[in-house]
Amino acid sequence: MGENKDLFVLTYGALVAQLCKDYEKDEDVNKYLDKMGYGIGTRLVEDFLARSCVRRCHSYSEIIDIIAQVAFKMYLGITPSVVCHNSSRNEFSLILDKNPLAEFVEELPAGRSALCYCNLLCGVIRGALEMVHLATDVTFLQDRLKGDRVTEIGITFLKKLDEKKYKRKK
Protein backbone atom coordinates (compact mmCIF):
# COMPACT_ATOMS: atom_id res chain seq x y z
CA MET A 1 0.00 0.00 0.00
CA GLY A 2 2.33 2.65 -1.27
CA GLU A 3 -0.20 5.45 -1.42
CA ASN A 4 -1.02 7.59 1.55
CA LYS A 5 -3.58 5.72 3.58
CA ASP A 6 -4.44 8.48 6.03
CA LEU A 7 -7.86 9.00 4.48
CA PHE A 8 -8.66 5.31 4.88
CA VAL A 9 -7.46 5.23 8.49
CA LEU A 10 -9.35 8.41 9.34
CA THR A 11 -12.50 7.07 7.66
CA TYR A 12 -12.33 3.90 9.73
CA GLY A 13 -11.81 5.97 12.86
CA ALA A 14 -14.81 8.15 12.05
CA LEU A 15 -16.86 5.00 11.53
CA VAL A 16 -15.95 3.58 14.93
CA ALA A 17 -16.45 6.94 16.64
CA GLN A 18 -19.91 7.27 15.09
CA LEU A 19 -20.86 3.73 16.13
CA CYS A 20 -19.75 4.60 19.65
CA LYS A 21 -22.07 7.59 19.60
CA ASP A 22 -24.95 5.49 18.24
CA TYR A 23 -24.63 2.53 20.60
CA GLU A 24 -23.97 2.68 24.31
CA LYS A 25 -22.83 -0.88 24.83
CA ASP A 26 -19.42 -2.01 23.62
CA GLU A 27 -20.84 -5.39 22.63
CA ASP A 28 -23.22 -3.69 20.21
CA VAL A 29 -20.47 -1.67 18.58
CA ASN A 30 -18.36 -4.80 18.27
CA LYS A 31 -21.28 -6.70 16.80
CA TYR A 32 -21.98 -4.07 14.14
CA LEU A 33 -18.33 -3.73 13.25
CA ASP A 34 -18.22 -7.48 12.74
CA LYS A 35 -21.37 -7.40 10.64
CA MET A 36 -20.01 -4.66 8.42
CA GLY A 37 -16.76 -6.51 8.10
CA TYR A 38 -18.62 -9.63 7.07
CA GLY A 39 -20.33 -7.72 4.26
CA ILE A 40 -16.96 -6.36 3.14
CA GLY A 41 -15.27 -9.75 3.33
CA THR A 42 -17.81 -11.56 1.18
CA ARG A 43 -17.16 -9.03 -1.57
CA LEU A 44 -13.48 -8.46 -1.01
CA VAL A 45 -12.63 -12.11 -1.48
CA GLU A 46 -13.53 -11.91 -5.17
CA ASP A 47 -11.21 -8.96 -5.65
CA PHE A 48 -8.51 -10.76 -3.75
CA LEU A 49 -8.76 -14.01 -5.71
CA ALA A 50 -8.79 -12.14 -9.00
CA ARG A 51 -5.76 -10.05 -8.15
CA SER A 52 -3.60 -12.51 -6.30
CA CYS A 53 -3.92 -15.71 -8.35
CA VAL A 54 -3.20 -17.90 -5.39
CA ARG A 55 -2.74 -21.56 -5.94
CA ARG A 56 -5.17 -24.13 -4.60
CA CYS A 57 -4.66 -24.72 -0.88
CA HIS A 58 -4.50 -28.13 0.68
CA SER A 59 -4.46 -27.30 4.33
CA TYR A 60 -5.69 -24.76 6.81
CA SER A 61 -2.20 -23.58 7.54
CA GLU A 62 -1.63 -22.80 3.88
CA ILE A 63 -4.78 -20.71 3.91
CA ILE A 64 -3.65 -18.82 6.99
CA ASP A 65 -0.26 -18.19 5.44
CA ILE A 66 -1.89 -16.74 2.38
CA ILE A 67 -4.12 -14.52 4.50
CA ALA A 68 -1.14 -13.25 6.44
CA GLN A 69 1.40 -12.88 3.66
CA VAL A 70 -0.70 -11.98 0.65
CA ALA A 71 -4.05 -10.58 1.76
CA PHE A 72 -2.89 -8.47 4.69
CA LYS A 73 0.05 -7.21 2.65
CA MET A 74 -2.22 -6.29 -0.25
CA TYR A 75 -4.87 -4.44 1.72
CA LEU A 76 -3.14 -3.15 4.82
CA GLY A 77 0.52 -3.18 3.92
CA ILE A 78 1.55 -5.36 6.87
CA THR A 79 2.49 -9.00 7.23
CA PRO A 80 1.37 -10.50 10.52
CA SER A 81 3.13 -13.58 11.81
CA VAL A 82 1.28 -16.86 12.12
CA VAL A 83 1.04 -19.11 15.16
CA CYS A 84 -0.68 -22.49 15.24
CA HIS A 85 -2.30 -23.43 18.49
CA ASN A 86 -3.20 -27.05 18.35
CA SER A 87 -2.08 -30.34 16.91
CA SER A 88 -5.23 -30.85 14.87
CA ARG A 89 -4.16 -27.63 13.19
CA ASN A 90 -7.43 -25.84 13.00
CA GLU A 91 -6.72 -23.05 15.47
CA PHE A 92 -4.39 -20.28 14.44
CA SER A 93 -3.43 -16.78 15.44
CA LEU A 94 -2.23 -13.81 13.46
CA ILE A 95 0.07 -11.62 15.47
CA LEU A 96 0.18 -7.99 14.39
CA ASP A 97 2.81 -5.88 16.04
CA LYS A 98 1.72 -2.87 14.07
CA ASN A 99 -1.91 -2.13 13.33
CA PRO A 100 -2.32 0.56 10.68
CA LEU A 101 -6.04 0.97 11.33
CA ALA A 102 -5.36 2.09 14.89
CA GLU A 103 -2.39 4.26 14.05
CA PHE A 104 -3.77 7.45 15.55
CA VAL A 105 -5.70 5.92 18.41
CA GLU A 106 -3.61 5.92 21.54
CA GLU A 107 -5.99 4.21 23.86
CA LEU A 108 -9.64 3.38 24.08
CA PRO A 109 -11.79 6.20 25.43
CA ALA A 110 -13.02 6.03 29.00
CA GLY A 111 -15.96 3.71 29.43
CA ARG A 112 -15.15 1.79 26.27
CA SER A 113 -12.77 -0.75 27.65
CA ALA A 114 -14.46 -3.70 25.95
CA LEU A 115 -14.45 -2.11 22.52
CA CYS A 116 -12.68 -4.14 19.87
CA TYR A 117 -11.60 -1.23 17.72
CA CYS A 118 -10.63 -3.35 14.71
CA ASN A 119 -13.46 -5.83 14.92
CA LEU A 120 -14.22 -5.04 11.29
CA LEU A 121 -11.16 -7.11 10.40
CA CYS A 122 -12.61 -10.17 12.12
CA GLY A 123 -15.77 -9.86 10.08
CA VAL A 124 -13.80 -9.40 6.86
CA ILE A 125 -11.80 -12.57 7.43
CA ARG A 126 -14.88 -14.54 8.44
CA GLY A 127 -16.92 -13.33 5.46
CA ALA A 128 -14.16 -13.98 2.97
CA LEU A 129 -13.53 -17.51 4.21
CA GLU A 130 -17.21 -18.27 4.20
CA MET A 131 -17.40 -17.40 0.51
CA VAL A 132 -14.94 -20.20 -0.13
CA HIS A 133 -16.98 -22.53 2.00
CA LEU A 134 -14.98 -22.45 5.19
CA ALA A 135 -16.78 -21.71 8.43
CA THR A 136 -14.58 -19.95 10.92
CA ASP A 137 -14.66 -18.22 14.23
CA VAL A 138 -12.57 -15.07 14.25
CA THR A 139 -11.98 -12.96 17.34
CA PHE A 140 -9.43 -10.68 18.90
CA LEU A 141 -7.41 -12.54 21.50
CA GLN A 142 -5.11 -9.69 22.39
CA ASP A 143 -5.36 -5.99 21.64
CA ARG A 144 -2.65 -3.38 21.88
CA LEU A 145 -5.30 -0.76 22.57
CA LYS A 146 -6.35 -2.70 25.66
CA GLY A 147 -2.83 -2.80 27.02
CA ASP A 148 -1.57 -6.08 25.58
CA ARG A 149 1.84 -6.18 24.02
CA VAL A 150 0.63 -7.15 20.57
CA THR A 151 -2.62 -7.44 18.69
CA GLU A 152 -3.62 -11.04 18.11
CA ILE A 153 -6.45 -12.26 15.90
CA GLY A 154 -7.54 -15.84 16.57
CA ILE A 155 -8.94 -17.87 13.68
CA THR A 156 -10.57 -21.23 14.35
CA PHE A 157 -11.70 -23.38 11.46
CA LEU A 158 -15.00 -25.04 12.17
CA LYS A 159 -16.58 -27.88 10.25
CA LYS A 160 -16.42 -27.14 6.55
CA LEU A 161 -19.69 -25.84 5.12
CA ASP A 162 -19.32 -27.54 1.79
CA GLU A 163 -17.56 -30.87 1.91
CA LYS A 164 -17.96 -31.64 -1.75
CA LYS A 165 -14.93 -30.19 -3.41
CA TYR A 166 -12.05 -27.86 -2.73
CA LYS A 167 -12.22 -24.50 -4.33
CA ARG A 168 -9.51 -21.89 -4.56
CA LYS A 169 -9.25 -20.50 -1.12
CA LYS A 170 -8.28 -17.16 0.32
Binding site: L10, Y12, G13, A17, F104, V105, E106, E107, P109
Partner: protein
Protein backbone atom coordinates in the same frame (compact mmCIF):
# COMPACT_ATOMS: atom_id res chain seq x y z
CA UNK B 1 14.78 24.56 26.66
CA UNK B 2 11.22 25.64 27.09
CA UNK B 3 9.82 26.45 30.48
CA UNK B 4 6.24 26.66 29.31
CA UNK B 5 4.39 25.40 26.27
CA UNK B 6 0.79 26.20 25.45
CA UNK B 7 -1.65 25.32 22.69
CA UNK B 8 -4.44 27.86 22.28
CA UNK B 9 -7.60 27.25 20.29
CA UNK B 10 -8.98 29.56 17.65
CA UNK B 11 -11.39 31.00 20.21
CA UNK B 12 -8.44 31.86 22.44
CA UNK B 13 -8.94 29.35 25.21
CA UNK B 14 -6.17 26.93 26.15
CA UNK B 15 -6.27 23.40 24.79
CA UNK B 16 -3.08 22.48 26.53
CA UNK B 17 -0.74 24.31 28.83
CA UNK B 18 2.22 22.96 30.71
CA UNK B 19 5.05 24.62 32.56
CA UNK B 20 8.04 23.40 34.51
CA UNK B 21 6.67 22.51 37.90
CA UNK B 22 9.30 24.36 39.86
CA UNK B 23 7.96 27.74 38.86
CA UNK B 24 4.76 29.50 39.70
CA UNK B 25 2.32 28.15 37.13
CA UNK B 26 0.02 31.14 37.32
CA UNK B 27 2.76 33.47 36.18
CA UNK B 28 3.13 31.48 32.97
CA UNK B 29 -0.59 31.30 32.39
CA UNK B 30 -0.67 35.07 32.64
CA UNK B 31 2.28 35.47 30.27
CA UNK B 32 0.68 33.23 27.68
CA UNK B 33 -2.58 35.11 28.00
CA UNK B 34 -0.93 38.48 27.47
CA UNK B 35 1.05 37.14 24.53
CA UNK B 36 -2.20 36.35 22.71
CA UNK B 37 -2.68 40.07 22.05
CA UNK B 38 0.68 40.21 20.34
CA UNK B 39 -0.22 37.12 18.33
CA UNK B 40 -3.47 38.68 17.15
CA UNK B 41 -1.59 41.84 16.20
CA UNK B 42 0.90 39.88 14.13
CA UNK B 43 -1.81 37.83 12.44
CA UNK B 44 -3.71 40.94 11.35
CA UNK B 45 -0.48 42.51 10.15
CA UNK B 46 0.17 39.50 7.92
CA UNK B 47 -2.98 40.27 6.00
CA UNK B 48 -2.90 38.89 2.50
CA UNK B 49 0.66 37.58 2.69
CA UNK B 50 1.19 34.13 1.26
CA UNK B 51 1.04 31.65 4.08
CA UNK B 52 3.95 29.27 4.16
CA UNK B 53 6.14 27.77 6.85
CA UNK B 54 7.96 31.02 7.45
CA UNK B 55 4.73 32.91 7.97
CA UNK B 56 3.34 30.33 10.38
CA UNK B 57 6.24 31.01 12.69
CA UNK B 58 5.66 34.38 14.34
CA UNK B 59 9.01 34.69 16.04
CA UNK B 60 9.75 36.44 19.27
CA UNK B 61 6.51 37.92 20.56
CA UNK B 62 7.92 39.88 23.43
CA UNK B 63 10.87 39.64 25.77
CA UNK B 64 10.75 40.13 29.49
CA UNK B 65 13.78 40.34 31.71
CA UNK B 66 13.70 36.63 32.60
CA UNK B 67 11.93 35.07 29.66
CA UNK B 68 11.36 35.21 25.94
CA UNK B 69 8.02 34.30 24.43
CA UNK B 70 7.72 32.82 20.94
CA UNK B 71 4.62 32.24 18.87
CA UNK B 72 3.44 30.08 15.98
CA UNK B 73 0.02 29.99 14.38
CA UNK B 74 -1.48 27.33 12.12
CA UNK B 75 -3.78 27.95 9.17
CA UNK B 76 -6.68 26.84 11.34
CA UNK B 77 -5.79 29.65 13.75
CA UNK B 78 -4.60 27.33 16.50
CA UNK B 79 -1.73 29.02 18.27
CA UNK B 80 1.34 27.55 19.90
CA UNK B 81 3.09 29.69 22.48
CA UNK B 82 6.46 28.82 23.93
CA UNK B 83 8.19 30.52 26.83
CA UNK B 84 11.93 30.04 27.14
CA UNK B 85 14.44 31.14 29.71
CA UNK B 86 16.27 34.32 28.69
CA UNK B 87 19.48 33.05 30.14
CA UNK B 88 19.46 30.19 27.67
CA UNK B 89 21.28 32.04 24.90
CA UNK B 90 22.19 28.84 23.14
CA UNK B 91 18.70 28.55 21.66
CA UNK B 92 18.76 29.80 18.10
CA UNK B 93 15.91 30.81 15.88
CA UNK B 94 15.99 27.69 13.75
CA UNK B 95 15.93 25.51 16.85
CA UNK B 96 12.80 27.26 18.03
CA UNK B 97 11.32 26.78 14.57
CA UNK B 98 12.02 23.06 14.64
CA UNK B 99 10.47 22.79 18.10
CA UNK B 100 7.32 24.42 16.79
CA UNK B 101 7.32 22.10 13.81
CA UNK B 102 7.47 19.11 16.15
CA UNK B 103 4.65 20.58 18.19
CA UNK B 104 2.60 21.06 15.06
CA UNK B 105 3.20 17.45 13.94
CA UNK B 106 2.23 16.07 17.34
CA UNK B 107 -0.86 18.25 17.35
CA UNK B 108 -1.84 16.84 13.94
CA UNK B 109 -1.54 13.31 15.33
CA UNK B 110 -3.81 14.25 18.23
CA UNK B 111 -6.36 15.64 15.78
CA UNK B 112 -6.32 12.37 13.82
CA UNK B 113 -7.47 10.40 16.86
CA UNK B 114 -11.10 9.58 16.03
CA UNK B 115 -12.08 9.86 19.68
CA UNK B 116 -10.68 13.36 20.08
CA UNK B 117 -13.23 16.10 19.51
CA UNK B 118 -11.71 19.33 18.19
CA UNK B 119 -12.01 21.89 20.96
CA UNK B 120 -11.44 19.43 23.78
CA UNK B 121 -8.46 19.70 26.07
CA UNK B 122 -5.57 17.67 24.75
CA UNK B 123 -5.03 14.56 26.86
CA UNK B 124 -2.73 12.50 24.71
CA UNK B 125 0.17 10.64 26.24
CA UNK B 126 2.25 10.93 23.10
CA UNK B 127 1.76 14.69 23.09
CA UNK B 128 2.71 14.88 26.77
CA UNK B 129 5.87 12.90 26.13
CA UNK B 130 6.87 15.14 23.27
CA UNK B 131 6.32 18.28 25.36
CA UNK B 132 8.29 16.73 28.23
CA UNK B 133 11.19 16.05 25.91
CA UNK B 134 11.14 19.70 24.86
CA UNK B 135 11.15 20.94 28.40
CA UNK B 136 14.06 18.77 29.43
CA UNK B 137 16.30 19.44 26.49
CA UNK B 138 16.41 21.39 23.29
CA UNK B 139 15.49 19.29 20.27
Amino acid sequence: MAVCIAVIAKENYPLYIRSTPTENELKFHYMVHTSLDVVDEKISAMGKALVDQRELYLGLLYPTEDYKVYGYVTNSKVKFVMVVDSSNTALRDNEIRSMFRKLHNSYTDVMCNPFYNPGDRIQSRAFDNMVTSMMIQVC
